[in-house]
Amino acid sequence: MESNVHLTKDLFVPIQDHLKDVEKINSPTVSFWRDVWRRLKENKLAMAGLMVTLLLLLLAAIGPYLNGYSYYEQDFTQKNLTPNAEHWFGTDQAGRDIFTRAWYGARISLFIGFMAAMIDFIIGIFYGGIAGLKGGRADNVMMRISEILYSIPYLLMVILIMIVLERGIWPIIIAMSITGWIPMARLVRGQVMQLKEQDFVQAANAMGSNTLWVLRKHLVPNTMGPILVNVTLTVPNAIFAEATLSFLGLGIPAPEASWGTMVSDALGSILIGNFYQLAIPAILISLTMFAFNVLGDGLRDALDPKLRK
């Protein structure tokens, strides 16, 4: 059989300059996290949450130094002042500057929130990761233990433990962490159970990697998305729990300020018409919870667009 296509040299011309780049990939490769960030940027509510979070962090850092008052200094000639040029948020019933106290309180509340989330994250990853990887009886026992602990309402457990511990920042964080890690552990376990059947994990196992290595190199990075969402949503929960504890008189001792203690100190003052003393910490707590909640929701949508409704 003879081909009836005759290829002669004059059929070919050198490629023209303007056509050289048609096959080139112009945009840089988009990594997973960059893609998430792009989707997150389109979510106005989540961006508002991110802005508020950053603003709160900034004010927590510099706020206490801005107007020259300290959080503990009492001045009984200046008590119960409404917001004015001297005291931007007014003063409380002991004549302390509310602006300074509010941002000092922000430090404590945010510190507790982040630390609690961090500890839950670390314990949760190890416990959930090991249960998910080992499977079988170990998994069964570990999950039963966590299930029983989890059936005690979180806040009730925290309150009970705080009755035993001394009052202070670290006791609060410890009390929160005793059962706070469970949701994270369950989440990680579920993810690990799904992932460990995947080929790349089996390959790692076949090559003799030990459990910790597989956990660190393969499983944790792949479950980072849902974990990040969970961490973001743990922070407002911890801030809420701290506020509740302080409100019950089990939180931060005076003269330190947290938003919860400020609300609880100001509770009596609404009857004499000093509503701003209560409103300022109350609004700050709500704003923080709002910011973290919408940011967490936005992250969840950005990480998995399929879930978006």
Partner: protein, 309 residues
């Protein structure tokens, strides 16, 4: 089905036992002893008191004694009240707490479901945005802050509703609202996303094609199927409501078990704290048991999974 119910029941008993044990042990780790505060107490009186409350016996004996009396629904004596036992306190407080809790959960479920359905049905219209803004506010504002705002405006400023006692139905309005906001917001969000999923199913189109009326489809096809996820979270929401009621009851001065618990904390009256915790856990575990059964009954798919496990 019976086998499943029996298994769930055993599990509930085991959980309850764990809660009792954990709480009992926590109470005993509290440094100092309950009568140390009354400093001038003669040695003989102190000894008699300890003997009377069996505090001189080994921990294990105290523990088994407490368990056996609990089986007979005896929560023991109060340390701070000479005339009332913990049982008397619970008998007094429970009807009040039950009333408040039932009202709050009903309001949360009904209003939350209406908001969720309206939002999903009018997706991306103003009704949707309004409902979701309400839901975000509900999740961001802790119940005790909601309570103080409600008191400030509706009771102190405008005098619409009375507060600080528990006499007429008007007294129940503000605490019910404060307590139900969080679960309501949660249910609204859940109901919305679950409705959106159901509305996109093929059988919805079939129903429309058959010429069924919109309202009929909405009630018998959409809501009926979308309600399941709401049932699953009812247990967690009730737990939330109960812990929320501690603070709401003490803010509004409602003589329920929540207030009893908080007073127990302030007075360091350990049998009262222990008793109210155990009582609340009993109710909660019982409710979760009922919800689990109801869930398998509502959704036959779950039953199969439950029985195979």
């Amino acid at each position: 089905m019976l086998k499943y119910i029996f298994k769930r029941f055993l599990w509930s008993i085991l959980t309850l036992w764990a809660v009792i044990t954990v709480t009992f042990m926590i109470m005993h780790f509290i440094p100092g002893d309950p009568f140390a505060r009354e400093g001038t107490m003669p040695e003989a009186v102190y000894k008699n008191l300890n003997e009377h409350y069996h505090l001189d016996q080994p921990l294990f004996i105290q523990y088994t004694r407490y368990l056996t009396s609990l089986i007979q629904f005896d929560f023991g004596p109060s340390l701070k009240s000479n005339t009332m036992t913990v049982n008397d306190f619970i008998k007094q407080g429970f009807p009040v707490s039950l009333h408040l809790g039932t009202q709050a959960i009903l309001l949360a479920v009904v209003l939350g479901m209406i908001l969720g359905v309206v939002a999903a049905y009018n997706r991306n219209k103003w009704q949707d945005y309004l409902s979701m803004i309400l839901a975000i506010v509900g999740i961001s504002v802790p119940s005790f802050i909601m309570a103080t705002f409600l008191i400030n405006f509706f009771a102190v400023k405008w005098g619409i509703f009375p507060v600080a006692t528990w006499k007429s139905w008007a007294h129940t309005v503000l605490p019910t609202i404060a307590l139900s906001m969080m679960p309501m917001a949660f249910i609204a969000r859940l109901m919305r996303s679950s409705m959106l999923e159901v509305l996109s199913q093929d059988y919805m189109i079939t129903a429309k094609a058959k010429g069924l009326k919109g309202k009929f489809i909405l009630i018998h096809y959409a809501i009926k199927n979308a309600i399941l996820p709401v049932v699953t979270v009812l247990g967690i929401l009730t737990a939330n409501l109960i812990t929320g009621s501690f603070i709401i009851e003490s803010i509004f001065g409602i003589p329920g078990i929540g207030e009893l618990f908080v007073k127990g904390i302030f007075n360091r009256d350990y049998p009262v704290i222990l008793g109210s915790t155990v009582f609340y856990s009993m109710i909660l575990i019982f409710l979760i048991f009922i919800i689990d059964i109801a869930y398998t009954w509502l959704d036959p798919r779950i039953k199969v999974i439950g029985e195979n496990n």
